[in-house]
């Protein structure tokens, strides 16, 4: 069993005739980043208009759709594990990722063809999530295998920055199209499918698979993936990610808190995710590079510090936004509220920039190359399920107590989780930085 960190050649072939050199982003990482960006434009186009399409276009009640979410989350988790496993087993990371991208692209047309049939819409949405689940682990494994170990933070930073750029451009493209065509949703679905197909074409043409010899029968199996947890460094990383995930409230809650606790006017609500995304995409590369220098452990923990700070800003005592009970007492929004809201979004973006790609970079150095997909899928799934639990628990606390008390509990839990993570993640000499 050899580790990705102990590959014999420090130079990695990343494309025909292209060799990654220190100080340059590998062509393969860039290609994967661009494929993700194009795919995110495609998927976010549909995500942005879907509620509008269902409600205004098809006349379905939005309350008819909420219940599918839990199902999707579970399914995505399972498929992510399957995607990682198949990619390792066949040593065909590119092919498995490609299948995932293709399924998602095809689902956009299916979504339109479904019309107002609720089961067909559900099936098309499920196909989209299935494609996403399938491709994530092989793609991250490919990124990990396409960059030198001391530049993994940067490589993941570049990928996440491009990915987030696509996620920001998608909604703009979709609403631009809707404006230009006076509300022809079909044009959004058709263009989104075209963009999705372009992503697949770019993947096929420019992404180079990182194939290792196909492992012996039994070397890649669900049992072997679980056995990865027997190695202390990876087990500790997974545990830290899960413990911190259990204290991470979902984006939706954070935006809801901003709106309700700060009395932020409702028209800014759709803009809140853009604030997080802007801060994330600007900081992903610098923080990835910084993580390569100061250590991924430090960066990962500091990122959760930023999240804790965001909770703190939300909990800061304020005057004038208390509950009001009569018709005449509608509170006004002060400039300080906007400043505090901007600070929360900045910190939220810092949290993602310092933790998302950095965690994968940290994992990459701990996983054997032939199980990198399985290992990453395991880590991502553990983290995703922990966050789902956190969401459910936070929702229950919110209902039981009140928003502020629930948030105070989350902040306490996060501080505690960070303390546990500090103990779990050992300080390592700079040479073998986590």
């Amino acid at each position: 069993m050899y580790l990705t960190t102990s590959r014999k050649t420090p130079e990695i072939r990343t494309g025909p005739g292209v060799r990654a050199r220190a100080g340059r982003i590998g062509a393969n990482v860039l290609a994967l980043g661009i494929v993700s960006m194009v795919t995110d434009v495609s998927s976010e186009m549909v995500t942005a208009v879907l509620p509008l399409y269902l409600v205004a276009g098809l006349g379905l009640s939005p309350l008819q759709f909420g219940f599918l979410d839990g199902l999707y989350t579970g399914m995505t988790a399972l498929l992510r594990l399957a995607g990682g496993h198949l990619a390792d087993r066949w040593q065909r990371r590119k092919a498995v990722a490609c299948a995932g991208y293709a399924i998602s692209a095809a689902s956009r047309l299916a979504l339109y063809a479904a019309g107002s049939s609720v089961p067909a819409l559900g099936a098309a949405l499920a196909a989209d999530r299935a494609g996403k689940g399938l491709r994530t682990a092989p793609r991250d494994a490919l990124i990990a295998l396409s960059a030198p170990p001391d530049q993994l933070g940067r490589a993941f930073g570049v990928h996440r920055a491009l990915d987030t750029t696509g996620a920001m451009l998608g909604p703009l493209a979709a609403f631009g199209l809707l404006t230009a065509t006076a509300g022809a949703y079909d044009s959004v679905f058709v263009v989104s499918t075209c963009v999705g197909v372009l992503g697949v074409v770019l993947l096929v043409l420019f992404v180079r698979d990182q194939r290792r010899p196909v492992p012996a029968a039994g070397a890649v199996s669900p049992a072997a993936a679980l056995a990865l947890l027997a190695a202390a460094p990876f087990r500790r990383l997974c545990l830290a990610a899960i413990v911190l995930g259990l204290a991470t409230i979902s984006d939706a809650f954070l935006y809801l808190l901003l709106r309700q606790e700060f009395g932020l006017p409702a028209q800014y609500f759709p803009l809140l995710p853009l604030g997080t995304a802007a801060s994330y995409l600007l900081l992903a590369v610098p923080f990835g590079r910084l993580a390569d220098r100061i250590g991924r452990r430090t960066m990962f923990l500091a990122g959760h510090g930023a999240l804790l700070a965001a909770y703190g800003v939300l909990l800061w005592p304020r005057s004038g936004t208390g509950t009001w009970t009569t018709f005449e007492q509608w509170p006004r929004t002060s400039p300080a509220v906007y400043a505090a809201g901007a600070a929360v979004l900045l910190l939220h973006g810092i949290f993602y920039a310092a933790t998302d790609g950095v965690l994968m970079a940290a994992a990459a150095t701990l996983l054997p190359a032939h199980l990198s997909g399985s290992g990453m899928a395991l880590l991502q799934t553990g983290q995703a399920l922990a966050r789902l639990c956190a969401s459910v628990a936070f929702g229950a606390l919110w209902t039981l107590w009140a928003a502020r008390s629930a948030l105070a509990a989350a902040a306490l839990a996060l501080a505690l989780a960070a303390g546990i993570a500090v103990l779990l993640l050992p300080r390592t000499p700079p040479k073998d930085r986590l």
């Binding site: 006076a182 509300g183 079909d186 809801l256 006017p265 028209q267």
Partner: protein, 353 residues
């Protein structure tokens, strides 16, 4: 394959896909433009007077192109007067109108308060997708509901936000969820409370609305001056008060599944008796009382419209695409009779009395 061939292939694929997307978009835009061409929409039979909101006997609605149009309620097959105003949802009474605009970039829209000449007098930015709009009979109180995204425990759920505007004082309540709520006789608080579909009584103080909490829906009666509300009964959504304020038409959930879940019912407020109406299709609308005996509502029709049916709104037989559309139907409020097609391609009906 060398790099040059790859780049050439990528360029060719980009070009081909851009052509497909571009041609389709131009086609879709042309289809929409044809549907909106003003010379095809202006009705010659309406005289010089355009659409006004202080007229009487006019059934005003949103036509299939999204424009606000009007026909005499006594003769809905007459050529409609089509205004240039485009709305996702519209309501009007006594010289006051409310237009919830189609969501634009970033998915936000506006609530636009209109005077009798359809001139905007106040614009309120909204944070969601327009759903319901209502003006009180006097024209003084306005309420609207939008659906907001991501506003739930799991990231892609929805919630409803309802606002009330008093046009006399200018007072705007952005979200009425702070109403002091009494549920089943007890004071009730839950952060998951959602209100939608307000209908005002003749005194401009009392109102009815739907409420959801913990997976159940209720009809509530509210009091603006007291800033309070109490639940009246379970499973009654999108209420609409009759002109004599004695009955409410509402949609009742009759199937738990997401497929065709609602039927229209009329509730007698005095006796509490419910009467199912003769409409057997699932209706998702806040209905309108044409008089004390008849209600009108938008019913979704799947498939292409028969162009010959669409008076004025779509005279050129423009392809409106395979997406579902709405038609306005009417049905007797006592459960008798059968639904009658009133305005093909219409939605958001409102009656100027």
């Amino acid at each position: 394959m060398n790099t040059r061939i790859r780049l050439a292939l990528a360029a060719a694929a980009t070009l081909a896909l851009a052509t497909v997307g571009g041609v389709y978009t131009v086609h879709a835009a042309g289809r929409a433009a044809a549907g909106q061409a003003p010379d095809r929409q202006r009705s010659s039979g309406s005289g010089d007077r355009g659409l006004v909101l202080d007229a009487t006997g006019q059934l005003v609605y949103r036509n299939i192109a999204g424009n606000v149009a009007g026909v005499p309620v006594a003769d809905p097959t007459a050529p409609p007067v089509v205004s240039g105003l485009r709305c996702a949802r519209f309501s009007a009474a006594h010289g006051t109108g409310i237009c919830l605009t189609q969501p634009g970039a970033l998915g936000t829209s506006d609530a636009v308060v209109l005077d009798a000449a359809l001139k905007p007098i106040r614009r309120i930015p909204l944070g969601g997708i327009p759903s319901r709009a209502r003006v009180s009979a006097s024209g003084r109180m306005i309420s609207w509901t939008v659906f907001m995204r991501g506003d739930s425990y799991l990231s892609t759920g929805f919630s409803a936000g309802t606002s009330i505007l008093d046009t006399k004082s200018g007072q705007l309540i952005a979200n009425i969820e702070t109403l002091a709520l009494t549920k089943d006789g007890k004071q009730y608080y839950s952060p998951d409370v959602n209100y939608w579909g307000v209908t005002f009584a003749a005194d401009d103080n009392r109102f009815y609305a739907s409420l959801s909490t913990k997976g159940k829906t209720y009809l509530v009666q509210g009091d603006l001056a007291n800033w309070s509300a109490r639940t009246v009964r379970e499973n009654a959504e999108c209420p609409s008060l009759s002109p004599d304020n004695t009955r409410i038409v509402f949609k009742k959930r009759v199937r738990a599944s997401a497929d065709k879940p609602w039927r229209l019912y009329v509730l007698d407020l005095e006796s509490g008796t419910e009467t199912p109406l003769a409409e057997t299709q699932s209706i998702d609308d806040q209905a309108l009382w044409l008089d004390n005996e008849t209600v009108a509502y938008a019913r979704s029709g799947v498939g292409d419209l028969d162009p010959s049916q669409v008076a004025g709104a779509n005279p050129a037989g423009v392809d409106v695409g395979p997406a579902a559309h709405w038609d306005i139907y009417s049905v007797p409020a006592d459960g008798s009779g059968s639904p009658q097609l009133l305005v093909p391609g219409g939605s958001s009906p409102t009656l100027l009395r």
